[in-house]
């Protein structure tokens, strides 16, 4: 069964094939180790130094001072709160609306593909473009204020959407949800189509209604997909940079910064590399912990 160094599944494999296999393995490993894994290790080391980036600069060891600096920095707190707010609203928001769209589309025959294509359009449009567009729509004299005050008359006065913290975060969150619905819809549609039709037929005979069918058949059967989406979207939410950078740029006074924009600012405007490294390590830790918890809570389905 074994040949050479490698234990290979088929007894037919020859020794030469170990070298061939290694050739297939190496390019990917080199790229990942050099450009992702090594930076992660380096970042961990940097977070204990007052890191300087120029030539002939000495980077003094500062222990856990960078971590203390992050935890005692009010703006880092604001950035982290904003990021968690963004994740906590956009992830369930786009999943619920995406699932709703998928359920609606799954029940119709005509224009099925048209709806899918158009709902998916915001997903293929780049973040820079949709962020600029939302910045324009949410501006003081913009389309949204016009619709809310003059057309529908829901609110008496304009809202300065982008000038204070929470309205600005709300705008960005709405953008995140709007852009994500199509992606969730496509994934949930595929999941819904994989649920065996017989289950629904049996439930109909037993007299179950739409709501009962949804909670007792649909939801348990798409649990794996829900887990997949939650993990992917949570990672994505913590990875958000472009919408904030384009829409508010962290203004006013870093009130709307999220972790990546704040880290970017610390790196290239304040040159506090060690601080930025500590911050990103904390964020990476949070994401890893959240993912592990999600896997534990939502079960061990293979995704």
């Amino acid at each position: 069964m074994t040949s050479g160094v490698f234990f290979i599944t088929s007894k037919y494999f020859r020794k030469k094939d170990n070298i061939r296999m290694l050739l297939l393995l190496v390019p990917g490993l080199v790229v990942i180790v050099m450009f992702t894994f090594y930076p992660i290790i380096k970042m961990f080391i940097m977070s204990f130094f007052d890191w300087k980036i120029g030539y002939n600069q000495v980077s003094p060891f500062v222990g856990i001072k960078n971590y203390i600096a992050v935890f005692s920095d009010p703006i880092a707190g604001i950035a982290l709160t904003n990021t968690i707010f963004y994740a906590a609203v956009t992830v369930p928001g786009q999943m619920i609306l995406g699932l709703l769209a998928a359920l609606l589309i799954n029940g119709i025959k005509k224009f099925n593909v048209t709806f899918r294509l158009l709902y998916y359009l915001p997903v293929v449009t780049s973040w820079v473009i949709v962020s600029l567009l939302f910045r324009y729509i949410f501006s003081n004299n913009g389309l949204l204020n016009y619709l809310l005050t003059d057309v529908f008359k829901w609110i008496p006065e304009y809202i300065g959407w982008l000038s204070t913290r929470w309205p600005a975060m709300t705008s960005t969150t709405l953008l995140g949800i709007w852009k994500g619905i199509g992606w969730n819809m496509v994934i949930f549609l595929a999941a819904l189509q994989a649920v065996p039709e017989e289950y629904y037929e049996a439930a109909s005979i037993d007299g179950a209604g739409y709501i009962q069918k949804f909670f007792y058949i649909t939801l348990p059967n798409i649990k794996g997909t829900i887990l997949f989406c939650t993990v992917m979207l949570t990672i994505g939410a913590f990875n958000t940079y472009t919408p904030i950078a384009v829409i508010t740029g962290g203004n006013p006074a870093h009130q709307t910064d999220i972790v990546l924009t704040w880290m970017y600012y610390q790196t290239f405007s304040s040159f506090k590399m060690g601080y930025a490294a500590a911050l990103s390590f904390i964020v990476a830790g949070i994401v890893a912990v959240i993912s592990i918890i999600l896997f534990k809570v939502l079960g061990h389905e293979r995704i």
């Binding site: 599944t9 990917g28 090594y38 930076p39 609606l104 990103s280």
Partner: protein, 302 residues
């Protein structure tokens, strides 16, 4: 078993039909509600896009005119914005840069990650679990979070102001997830096919080329679209690395242009964004099957 099922179907059919006839009104109205809700959602989804397109045809002086118009008067329409972007700005250069980056950052991960996925899926070699664990871990960490050490690396390899600085890092960022997804797909390809090829005198390479690549192509296509869109739109890293005008990609160029024009010349900005969407829209319409079946191969796996 088959006969039993058939007879059950025959029994069931008239009953379901009768339910259907009895409840026809209810069913019709429920379908109507579906369409109404979907249309409502559609309005929210496409109005901003339509607004962007119509705004790109309005002169800059009117972009802050009140009230805003989703459908402008025909007398206002102008192509001046497009002419400005196409002939006064380096737009074609930015577009070529972007397509070069996105193309390379699609093909490289497709090759690398399918090879990696094949090895991890098919062979049991020492260190395999460590490699797979590393891949899963790096998947969880946002690419931009490693900004500082990656920037140092880019400086060391003279990759600043170089399109390859962007390409190589994008490749490294997307390879873990691509590998994860393709591996899941290869796991479901029967091993007998490999072995048959092997008995016929094939090597690991021929199996990869003639069995794995063709059979795993749906997952490779899906992830490639994902990777292309990512490389086409990424801003944080590209604006860090690409600092001169010659190497700028579209996302960087649009943001720079927007800031340089005092954040007001929305007509120009939207002409630029609409133009930059053309390649993606063409791709979208050509490959819509792969887009809207998307990453489902990775999401739904028993």
């Amino acid at each position: 078993m088959k006969g039993y099922k058939k007879s059950m179907n025959m029994l069931k059919k008239p009953r379901i039909k009768s339910i259907f006839i009895n409840n026809k009104r209810v069913l019709l109205s429920s379908i109507l509600i579906r369409y109404l809700l979907l249309l409502l959602g559609l309005t929210v989804m496409v109005t901003p896009m339509i607004y962007m397109i119509t705004s790109s045809f309005r002169p800059n002086s009117l972009t802050f005119a009140y009230p805003p118009k989703i459908i402008p008067d025909t007398s206002e329409l102008t192509v001046e914005n497009y002419l400005y972007i196409l002939f006064k700005e380096n737009f074609s250069k930015y577009m070529l840069n972007t397509l070069y980056v996105a193309g390379a950052a699609t093909i490289l991960p497709a090759i690398i990650s399918s090879m990696l996925a094949y090895c991890i899926s098919r062979f049991r070699f020492p260190g395999r679990n460590i490699i797979y664990g590393t891949i899963i871990t790096t998947m969880l960490i946002p690419g931009l979070a490693m900004l500082v050490p990656q920037f140092e690396l880019a400086v060391k390899f003279k990759l600043v102001d170089n399109l390859w600085g962007v390409i190589l890092f994008y490749t490294a960022w997307v390879t873990p997830f691509s590998t994860f997804l393709i591996k899941g797909f290869i796991d479901n390809i029967p091993r007998e096919l490999d072995e048959a090829m092997y008995i016929d005198g094939g090597t690991v390479f021929t199996i990869y080329r003639k069995v794995i690549l063709p059979l795993a192509s749906p997952s490779i296509a899906a992830i490639s679209i994902f990777n292309f869109l990512f490389a086409f739109e990424e801003l944080g890293w590209s604006q860090t690395i690409l600092r001169t005008d010659q190497v700028r990609t579209i996302p960087v160029a649009i943001t720079q242009f927007f800031q340089a024009h005092n954040r007001t010349d929305w007509g120009y900005v939207f002409a630029m964004t609409c133009l930059s969407m053309i390649p993606v829209i063409i791709l979208y319409l050509l490959l819509q099957k792969y887009f809207i079946s998307g990453l489902s191969s990775g999401a739904i796996k028993e």
